[in-house]
């Protein structure tokens, strides 16, 4: 275990930044999101949740795949360069670290997505324990311990210090790069901090969220339930939940005509949008109820069925906080709870 005075953190950021791009929570116009560190960035490691999840670091909201041009009347295809330099994402919370494992199941399964894989290869995850989990948090329901997240390096805030524990080879390498700012220390303050966090978690209203109606076996059963017809009604189909979600991975592939060639890019999309499945011969999900059902069935039943029971929800609670209609995955999970089938 190592530690650094929190007041010395800017020096640590500068040291990491010297050899790696550093992404960390930065406050801009009152909102905290992951952004590239610069000397004048307003770093905000006190914020519990960033508005958007850090999935951008590995699966950007928009990224170029390749560019088509013309040379002597012949079409040329120039692939976008893959990520080839190390970068560090600092301050990822336990739920968001698990979300990356969910995205791995999608993008690193055959055939491997080389754009995503190159970022996973070069990215170092420095996670951070959550000091003050909130009422909208329910990561515990998915077996995530926000007091002791996974990551290449795990950090804890306690008193005046940030505690630092490398967990993987990548984490060791980074630790060596910044060794001059870290001093070895006892585990005791971290153990105490973890106890305090777990005590808060035990008081959270959603700590006993019952997932027994969900999982692989629910794939057939819950689809035909009449509950959906009532449940979806407030949904505005705005897609906010999918854009703040750390595990949503649906994407679109589109063209941008630069005037000097065509860039083919992909960008986040939402299964909640009416044109998501639209084809020339029709739309297989032409009601909002069907689209709403698809999103939650995918996260809570289809994905677990295909991935050894792993849910495609990590309980970060962003959708709980941001849905303008106060609809969210917790309501869906509960609606199918005990006694209702």
């Amino acid at each position: 275990m190592y530690r650094i005075l929190k007041s010395d953190l800017p020096k640590l950021y500068a040291a990491i930044s010297a050899k790696n791009d550093l992404l960390l929570p930065v406050k801009t116009a009152g909102k905290t999101n992951f952004a590239l560190w610069t000397e004048d960035a307003v770093v905000d490691i006190e914020a519990l949740k960033t508005v958007k999840s850090p999935k951008d670091a590995f699966f950007p909201q928009s990224e170029n795949l390749y560019t088509c041009g013309k040379v002597d009347g012949k079409t040329t295809i120039t692939e976008e360069e893959r990520c080839n330099a190390p970068f560090v994402v600092f301050g990822i919370k336990g739920c968001d670290v698990r979300a990356i494992a969910v995205l791995d199941k999608v993008f690193l399964s055959e055939p491997v997505d080389s754009y995503y894989a190159s970022r996973r290869e070069h990215g170092v995850i420095v996670s951070m324990a959550c000091n003050r989990p909130e009422t909208s948090c329910f990561c515990g329901a998915f077996g995530i311990d926000c007091a002791q997240p996974e990551g290449d390096v795990v950090t804890w805030q306690a008193g005046e210090y940030l505690y630092w524990q490398p967990m993987t080879e990548k984490g060791e390498v980074l630790t060596q790069q910044v060794a001059e700012f870290l001093s070895a220390c006892e585990d005791a303050p971290v153990n105490e901090a973890m106890e305090q966090i777990r005590a808060i978690c035990n008081k959270l209203p959603l700590k006993d969220l019952d997932l027994s109606a969900w999982g692989a076996e629910a794939a057939q059963k819950n689809f035909d339930s009449p509950i959906w017809e009532q449940l979806y009604k407030p949904c505005l189909a705005c897609g906010t939940c999918t854009f703040v979600c750390p595990t949503c991975q649906c994407y679109d592939i589109k063209d941008y005509n630069t005037g000097n060639g065509v860039q083919r890019y992909r960008c986040w999309d939402s299964c909640m949008y009416s044109d998501f499945t639209m084809m020339a011969h029709g739309n297989n999900r032409n009601s909002q109820m069907q689209r709403f059902r698809q999103r939650f069935m995918h996260k809570l039943a289809y994905f677990p069925a295909n991935n050894d029971g792993m849910f495609s929800c990590v309980g970060c609670g962003r959708c709980v906080d941001s849905c303008p209609a106060h609809l969210n995955i917790v309501k869906v999970i509960k609606a199918f709870g005990k006694g209702e089938k």
């Binding site: 795949l65 390749y66 088509c68 012949k74 079409t75 295809i77 692939e79 999608v106 993008f107 399964s109 055959e110 055939p111 491997v112 997505d113 080389s114 754009y115 794939a219 057939q220 689809f223 991975q249 649906c250 994407y251 679109d252 592939i253 063209d255 005509n257 065509v262 083919r264 992909r266 999309d269 299964c271 998501f276 499945t277 639209m278 084809m279 020339a280 011969h281 029709g282 297989n284 999900r285 069907q290 698809q294 069935m297 995918h298 289809y302 069925a305 295909n306």
Partner: protein, 288 residues
């Protein structure tokens, strides 16, 4: 199973992502019906862009317009080129229909599973049932079967469309397949038409009327409504769902089960399909 990446021909050692296409040259265009054209595609240096199996699909793209999934209608036994029969029904297909021989398109694939021509279909009597542009995926299987004739039993082809003018590959149906020993071709059109002395009526009704023996495996492709009633007709004739194969068609973007569009239940049609047996289709939520 498709491979994750292919080695780039012009830059050995460099692996191309499956999302990145190859340039293909249109080497022939045949106007099949007023709104269907068949495009022959070759690699710029000649030959095929890749190998495929009957029923597999590929993404065809016009840069700046769009990209969409089309079934490869030529048989893998054809060693010279690949063909796509494409109906004009949207922005991309409008653009494709305006292309000329010598023009370039971008192609990536092959994607998806295929009809089990080397396993479950081997040694079987086969009944092909197609409606309209639904012949496109089945044509690949039909020619594969006819080129490996000794591996299969009898072949019956029942094909229908709106009118005589909308029969895709009519020349091949009448002059090649119908004249192959052991192959019976049944054609029908929806409404009577001058100059047509063949059968008139919808495909499902004709299917019952002909009344095929159940010692066959049926392969069924066409518009959803036709598929629904053909399946009912086949069940009336005594076919079980395990004897009937079809292809599903949903919106696709990536082709590799990641972008989420063609997800129904636990399946991704682009990767786990497009070919499904009807008992497998029954296990999917009713969203196709």
């Amino acid at each position: 199973m498709q491979e994750a990446m292919h080695e780039c021909k012009c830059n050995p050692g460099f692996m191309r992502d499956t999302l990145v296409p190859q340039v293909g040259i249109i080497t022939d265009i045949r106007q099949e019906t007023p709104d269907v054209k068949t495009f022959r595609v070759n690699a710029p240096e000649g030959g095929k862009l890749f190998e495929h199996m009957p029923g597999q699909c590929a993404m065809v793209c016009v840069p700046g317009v769009s990209e969409a999934m089309f079934s490869i209608t030529s048989s893998p036994t054809n060693k010279e080129y690949q063909e796509f029969s494409i109906k004009r029904c949207g922005d991309l297909t409008d653009c494709l229909h305006s292309l000329q021989i010598g023009d370039e398109v971008l192609v990536r694939g092959p994607y998806g599973n295929h009809f089990p021509v080397e396993t479950e279909l081997k040694g079987k009597n086969l009944l092909f049932i197609a409606g309209g542009i639904g012949l496109a995926p089945l044509r690949s299987v039909i020619n594969y079967v006819l080129d490996n004739r000794e591996n299969y039993g009898t072949v019956d082809i029942l094909y229908g469309s709106r009118s005589a003018d909308d029969l895709v590959r009519r020349d091949e149906l009448e002059n090649v397949w119908a004249k192959t020993p052991g192959v019976n071709v049944y054609m029908t059109i929806d409404r009577p038409q001058e100059g047509w002395d063949g059968h008139v009526g919808f495909v499902p009704a004709y299917l019952e009327e002909v009344g095929f023996d159940t010692n066959k495996v049926a392969l069924l492709c066409g518009p959803p409504i036709m598929i629904k009633f053909c399946l009912q007709a086949l069940e009336k004739l005594g076919f079980s769902k395990e004897q009937v194969y079809t292809t599903l068609e949903l919106r696709m973007k990536c082709g590799v089960g990641k972008c989420g569009r063609c997800n129904i239940g636990t399946k991704y049609v682009c990767k786990d399909g497009p070919v499904f047996r009807f008992d497998q289709v029954d296990e999917l939520p009713n969203e196709y």
